[in-house]
């Protein structure tokens, strides 16, 4: 460490905060303690927290998979209904044409 760096060290010596800093921090922490704690992480012990996180992830993954299945099934049902309608229309038209052809033959 050369002179310049020693001067930097002198310039950046630690300083103390105001005298009441510690009591203010402790008072703020005391207020913090009195706040209701709803966060899962605060009241769960470490190991249980991991288990809860794992379980939550599994449930979330299951819900996503289930949602996707429901979506795919609904899309399939809609496609099936559209196809049935199209077939019904085609069949009605074909029947009409067949009736006309039959009527023509009878006229001949």
């Amino acid at each position: 460490m050369d002179d310049f760096e020693k001067q930097l060290k002198d310039a950046f010596q630690r300083q103390d905060p105001s005298a009441d800093f510690e009591s203010r921090v402790l008072a703020a922490a005391s207020r913090e303690k009195q706040k209701p704690r709803w966060r899962l992480t605060l009241w769960m012990p470490g190991r249980l927290r991991w288990a809860a996180a794992l379980a939550m992830s599994l449930v979330l993954a299951a819900v996503v998979v289930r949602q996707r299945e429901v979506h795919e099934r609904a899309a399939g049902e809609a496609a099936k209904a559209r196809l049935e309608l199209a077939l019904k229309i085609t069949s009605t038209k074909l029947k009409k044409i067949q009736d006309q052809v039959n009527a023509g033959r009878q006229d001949e």
Binding site: Q7, R14, Q15, F21
Partner: protein, 201 residues
């Protein structure tokens, strides 16, 4: 069977080296009721580390009241996370890291909605401890002119006496970058210092 093994491995607490077990043992020794803000452990940690946390913020921001505000937030965060910290060394590392992040966040937020420039702020009072007070003030002003990361690196190096490897861990940066920042910042500061010394004003 294999899956059960994986789950058991995840749930098993990570082994802590014996040297790092002090704080956990201390905390475990206290009952849940005693572990409040009035508890010995938290109060002692505040007392022991307040000058470190406050000084990092104060040297970075050059504003005592703002530095106290940030230091208080950092200690409140420590209070919330006390049980996850394993040792005195871990607490000091954690405090340096959180203080550094908070200072950078504050400056970035401030830059997005500027009110008054931190660079124009007054020089903190009662900071001269030893050496030439004028020179120290000049050096602090020069370090203040550096960008955020180099400024933090300089503060951690010369206030906290940390080695580049420790600074890299604290600021989550590659060691090579820290070394290069230190080298460049020192060169810039030396040059500026020489220029200002040569300036007759």
């Amino acid at each position: 069977m294999e899956r059960v093994g994986v789950v058991t491995r995840i749930l098993r607490p990570s082994p802590i080296p014996p040297a790092y077990i002090d704080l956990r043992r201390m905390l475990a020794a206290q009952s849940a009721m005693e572990r409040g803000p009035g508890s010995k452990v938290f109060a002692e940690l505040v007392r022991e580390h307040q000058s470190m946390v406050f000084s990092i913020a104060c040297h970075f921001l050059r504003d005592r009241s703002l530095a106290e505000e940030i230091a208080q937030d950092v200690f409140l965060q420590l209070y919330r996370n006390l049980e996850s910290l394993e040792s005195e060394a871990h607490v000091a590392f954690w405090l340096r890291r959180v203080t550094s992040n908070r200072c950078v966040d504050y400056v970035r937020r401030r830059q997005r909605r500027p009110e008054t420039s931190l660079d124009d702020g007054p020089e903190p009072r009662n900071v001269e401890a030893s050496g030439d007070p004028m020179l120290s003030r000049k050096l602090r002003a020069l370090v203040q002119s550096l960008p955020e990361k180099p400024r933090l690196v300089m503060i951690l190096r010369y206030q906290e006496d940390l080695m580049p490897e420790e600074i890299a861990r604290t600021l989550d940066m590659p060691v090579r970058s820290v070394k290069s920042i230190l080298h460049r910042s020192l060169a810039i500061l030396r040059e500026k210092m020489e220029r200002s010394m040569g300036d007759p004003r």
